[in-house]
Amino acid sequence: MTPFVAYAIAAFASTVALFALWHSFKGFRFSNPLFYGVAATEVLLVVAGVGALFVGGNQGDPILFWSYYVTTLIIAPAAVVWGIGDKTRWGTGVVAIAMLTVAVLSIRLMQIWQGHG
C-alpha cells in the first residue's frame, strides 16, 4: 500500500463521492454510471489488496492492516444495498458518505502500512 496507490484510490473514491453528491443535489436516482464508479473503486481496492499480499513491505501490524482492509472492502457494497433501498436523493447521499469513508480509510491503510498504526 504505497502512498501512490493509497492517494490514487482516495482521489478516485472522492471523485465518485462528488458524482454521488451531484446525484443527491439534483435529486437523481442511483444511476448506472454511479454504479460503475462504485464498482471501479471496489476493483481498485481488490487490486491494491492483491498487490499488498504479494509485493509485501508492510511495516505495520498485519492483523490491523487486514482488518482495516476488509472493513474498507465491505463499505461500498453495503452502501449500495442500503442506498438503493431509498429511491430519493438520500439514497445517493448514503453512497457519497460511503465513498468519502473509503477515501479516508485508504489513507489510514497507508499509515498502518508505513507503521504509524
Binding site: D61, D86, W90, G93, I97
Partner: protein
Amino acid sequence: MAETQAGFGRVLVAIYAVFAISATARSLYQLLSKFDVAPVAYGLSALSGVVYIVATWALATDRRPMAWIAVGFEAAGVLIIGLVTMVNPDLLGDETVWSRFGAGYGYVPLVLPFLGLAWLVKTGRTRASASLNEPEAI
C-alpha cells in the same frame, strides 16, 4: 415503513454504522494488543463503540426511546471527554473517539449526535402531528 428507512434518516444510519464498526473494531484491537498502555482510553473507546452499535440499530429499526438514550449518551460523552482532554491532554493515556471533541475523526463524533438529536426532534414532531391530523386507516 419506519421513518429511518427513508430520507435523511437513511444517511444518518449509514454514518452511524461506519462509526459503530470503526470505533468498535479499533478499540477491540487496542484492548487486545496494548491494554496496559491506556486501559481507560481503550475502555472508553470500546464503550462508545458499543453505544454507536446500539444507536445504529435503534435508528435503523425506529426504536425511538432507545435511540434518544444512545444518541444522547454520545452527545454527553463527546462534550465531557472533549472538555476533559482539552484541559488535561495526558489524562487518559491515549486518543479516544471523543478526545479533543473528536478532532482525530474530523469532528464527526461531535457533529453526529447533535444531527441525530435534531433529526429525532424533527421527525418526532411531524409524526405526532401526523397522527393527530390523520384519522386511522379505514
